[in-house]
């Protein structure tokens, strides 16, 4: 049963990736990205990473995609400009990406997973929160700081662009 769901999400992701690769329209790519992100969230659930899935939907599908859509909206005034011509790098890129995929899969093929431990943790979110503030406190604080700096910077940059 679970396998069918997993297959379903796999197929969704693959469709989404395919759309991204073969579309020429940026907006379509962004929408396909949204599809991929949501499907990934589903896979995360099936991997018993519930908080990760929620964070994925909240931040990625809700934040990043909105940002990208805003970006597309603001930078595509000219008509027909969104349609980029066929890139001349595609052949090299294809070869290279296939090579990367091949080498990665070569590495992965030697991985052997042990028997999965059914870990049903009802207090997963709570445990994650505790570990944020105890085991990974430094990283947590640093991440928060970076987030602050980035947002302030982005706001400043955007302000400059809108003022001129």
């Amino acid at each position: 049963m679970i396998q069918v769901v997993q297959y379903f999400f796999f197929i969704l992701i693959l469709i989404g990736v395919g759309l991204i690769l073969w579309t020429k329209n940026v907006i379509h790519a962004v929408y396909s990205l949204a599809l991929v992100l949501v499907s990934l969230a589903g896979i995360y659930v099936l991997l018993n990473a519930e908080l990760l899935a929620i964070v994925q939907i909240l931040l990625y599908a809700g934040g990043v995609v909105i940002l990208l859509v805003f970006g597309v909206m603001m930078t595509s005034r000219m008509k027909g400009r969104t349609l980029a011509t066929k890139s001349k790098n595609s052949l090299v890129a294809l070869i290279l990406s296939v090579a990367i995929f091949t080498s990665l899969s070569f590495v992965f093929s030697e991985v052997s997973f042990s028997e999965r431990i059914e870990l049903h943790q009802p207090n997963q979110v709570e445990d994650i929160g505790i570990s944020f503030l105890t085991d990974h406190i430094v990283a947590f604080e640093l991440i928060a700081f970076i987030l602050l700096v980035a947002l302030v910077g982005a706001a400043y940059l955007a302000k400059i662009s809108s003022n001129e």
């Binding site: 090299v92 290279l96 090579a99 990367i100 080498s103 070569f106 590495v107």
Partner: protein, 638 residues
């Protein structure tokens, strides 16, 4: 006066004569004759003053001493030269009366006299060589005197060059003597010289005295004025060779003496044979001179030098007399136009017209033929007897020499008779209108002819007409030859017989109104092979020409080769230059090319590898990932 002054006067007075011909324009040439006369009288005076040989030496160059010496043979010959020169001067005053270049003539004559006298008194061989050359040079000047005539310059050149070839040998011989440290003073010669110097000096003497193979020049030298031929080529210059041989003779190597003898008799035969068929009066006399000189040289070879000198003396008189007589005939016949005055076919019957000339000519030719009662007979006998004695000593083959000498006597008498008959006797062939020619015998002609004719008669030398010694013997140093042997006596008789027979033969063949004589005017050249050979003097002059042209074409050939070699060298040089330029180009292209090529490779590689720093940012990412994949695959698979 002192000996020095006397000798100086003898030798140098002619030079004053030379100066006077140019200094005094009008009659300078007469004054020159006076100087020659002065020189002659001084030489006669010297004869009486001379007791012992007088020598003086001085240093010409550092380490080179030369000297003069006057002994009896030199003194008597000085007198001879002086006398002959004086007579020729007198003769020339009339002969050259109408010539515009008289001054030059007498100047050259004086120069010659000076050179000859200097030669006679030279003691050192080197000084002798100097005068030898001067004599040859003055002979060249005089032969080519009428240089506008066709044949004169070439003849003068031939005389000079043939003499020069022999002079090279002479100089080589003298230098050999110098090198070996032998004395080069004639008076100091004591021992026999070595073969090579002897031979070389003998060859040098052959040249001057027209022995084979140097005989050709005298025949061509007849292109000069006849008085010159009388003086130089009959009496004095050609005698210089005999004089040198006389001095050197006793000291020559025995093999060289044999060579000298053989050369002498061969020349005598050659001259006599060639004289038989000649048609030019002067050519007959020229070949006769060659023959008589050969006789003299043969005498030297058989160690009878003193007899040869005696014959030299008598030959000087009668040959000069013959030449001067011929000169009178030529001078007279010169008034004819458009015909050769020297051609005997245009002469004949002149006896009645020129009686004085005829008498002196006849006397001299009898002397030449060797008829008894004349001087020529006496001197020839001396040589002949010496030849018999020598042959007796040597052996069988040596008898050939006196035998041939006898044959020569026969032939000599023959051609002499022919000469006299054809010129003076018989019908007159000398011209269609006889009246146009004026036959005149001037005193200037008569005096020299008379003196020379008298000098050809026996009583001047010895009471006995048949003797071979003379009053001059003491001067020549002649020792009486033992003439008691039967062969020697019969030899004398045979020679008398032969000479008379030759004259009779000639008379019978050529006498007036003979077939030959009648047809002589239109006589053409001999047809038979032998006749042609001796008419052309055995083609000796042609041989000279052949040698000359061979050398000339060889020189031309060498020049041609030189040009080719020059061309080759030029080509080589050019090709070296071209090669150098090619190498330069190659160097520039290849070596620089290699360097440039390396630089180009570096540039291309640089351009290629700088693509990593791509313009587009995506390419940078691409390069990054390429590197990532490569490293990953390296880690995985190696």
């Amino acid at each position: 006066m002192s000996m020095e002054a006397l000798i100086s006067l003898i030798v140098l007075l002619p030079l004053l004569g030379l100066g006077s011909t140019y200094a005094l324009n009008h009659s300078g040439w007469r004054v020159s004759a006076a100087f020659i006369a002065g020189s002659f009288f001084c030489s006669v005076y010297l004869l009486f003053q001379l007791d012992s040989p007088y020598m003086v030496r001085w240093e010409w160059l550092p380490n080179l001493q030369v000297g003069i010496s006057a002994d009896k043979p030199a003194a008597i010959l000085l007198a001879l030269v002086g006398l002959l020169s004086l007579l020729v001067h007198l003769f020339s005053m009339e002969y050259m009366k109408d010539d515009t270049a008289k001054q030059r003539y007498f100047a050259k004559l004086a120069f010659f006299t000076f050179s000859m006298m200097g030669l006679l008194v030279s003691d050192s061989l080197i000084l002798l060589f100097v005068f030898w050359e001067l004599v040859g040079f003055s002979s060249y000047l005089l032969i080519g005197f009428w240089f506008k005539k066709d044949s004169a310059p070439g003849s003068a050149r031939m005389a000079f060059m043939v003499n020069k070839v022999a002079d090279v040998a002479l100089l080589a011989g003298i230098l050999m003597l110098l090198r070996e440290g032998d004395s080069t003073f004639v008076s100091e010669l004591g021992e026999t010289l070595f073969f090579l110097p002897s031979l070389l000096i003998a060859i040098g003497a052959f040249g001057k005295s027209a022995q084979l193979p140097f005989s050709g020049w005298i025949v061509k030298a007849m292109a000069g004025p006849t008085p010159i031929s009388a003086l130089i080529h009959a009496a004095t210059m050609v005698a210089a060779g005999v004089y040198l041989l006389f001095r050197i003779g006793p000291f020559l190597d025995s093999q060289v003496l044999a060579i000298v003898t053989i050369t002498g008799i061969a020349t005598a035969m050659y001259g006599a044979l060639s004289a038989i068929t000649q048609n030019d009066i002067k050519k007959v006399l020229a070949y006769s001179t060659i023959s008589q000189l050969g006789y003299m040289v043969m005498g030297i070879g058989v160690s009878a030098g003193e007899a040869s000198i005696f014959h030299l003396w008598t030959h000087a008189f009668f040959k000069a007399g013959l030449f001067l007589g011929a000169g009178v005939v030529i001078h007279t016949l010169h008034q004819r136009e458009n015909s050769d005055p020297q051609d005997m076919r245009q002469m004949g019957g002149i006896r009645s017209k020129l009686p004085w000339t005829f008498v002196s000519f006849l006397v001299c030719s009898l002397a030449l033929a060797g008829i008894p009662f004349f001087s020529g007979f006496m001197s020839k006998e001396g040589i002949l007897l010496a030849a018999w004695t020598w042959a007796e000593q040597i052996g069988t083959w040596a008898y050939l020499v006196p035998d041939l000498a006898l044959v020569t006597i026969l032939i000599t008498a023959f051609y002499v008779g022919r000469l006299v008959i054809l010129v003076f006797l018989g019908e007159s062939r000398y011209g269609t209108s006889v009246d146009a020619i004026k036959f005149d015998e001037n005193a200037y002609f008569k005096i020299p002819l008379t003196v020379l004719a008298i000098g050809s008669i026996w009583f001047v030398y010895n009471i006995n007409p048949l003797a071979h010694t003379s009053i001059l013997d003491s001067f020549f140093g002649l020792v009486s030859i033992d003439s008691d042997s039967f062969i020697a006596q019969s030899g004398v008789g045979i020679s008398i017989f032969l000479s008379i027979a030759g004259a009779v033969l000639a008379f019978s063949l050529f006498k007036p109104k003979s077939a030959f004589s009648l047809g002589y005017r239109d006589n053409v050249l001999p047809n038979s092979f032998g006749g042609r050979v001796i008419y052309n003097g055995f083609y000796l002059i042609n041989a000279y020409r052949l040698i000359g042209t061979t050398i000339h074409s060889t020189a031309q050939g060498v020049t041609w080769v030189e040009k080719r070699i020059d061309g080759l060298l030029h080509f080589l040089a050019m090709s070296v230059v071209v090669l150098a330029k090619v190498l330069a180009i190659v160097d520039r292209l290849i070596i620089d090319g290699i360097v440039n090529f390396l630089a180009w490779i570096a540039r291309v590689l640089g351009n290629v590898t700088s693509l990593v720093h791509a313009r587009e940012s995506q390419w940078q990412i691409i390069w990054l990932l390429i590197a990532f994949v490569l490293i990953l695959s390296w880690i995985l698979f190696f």
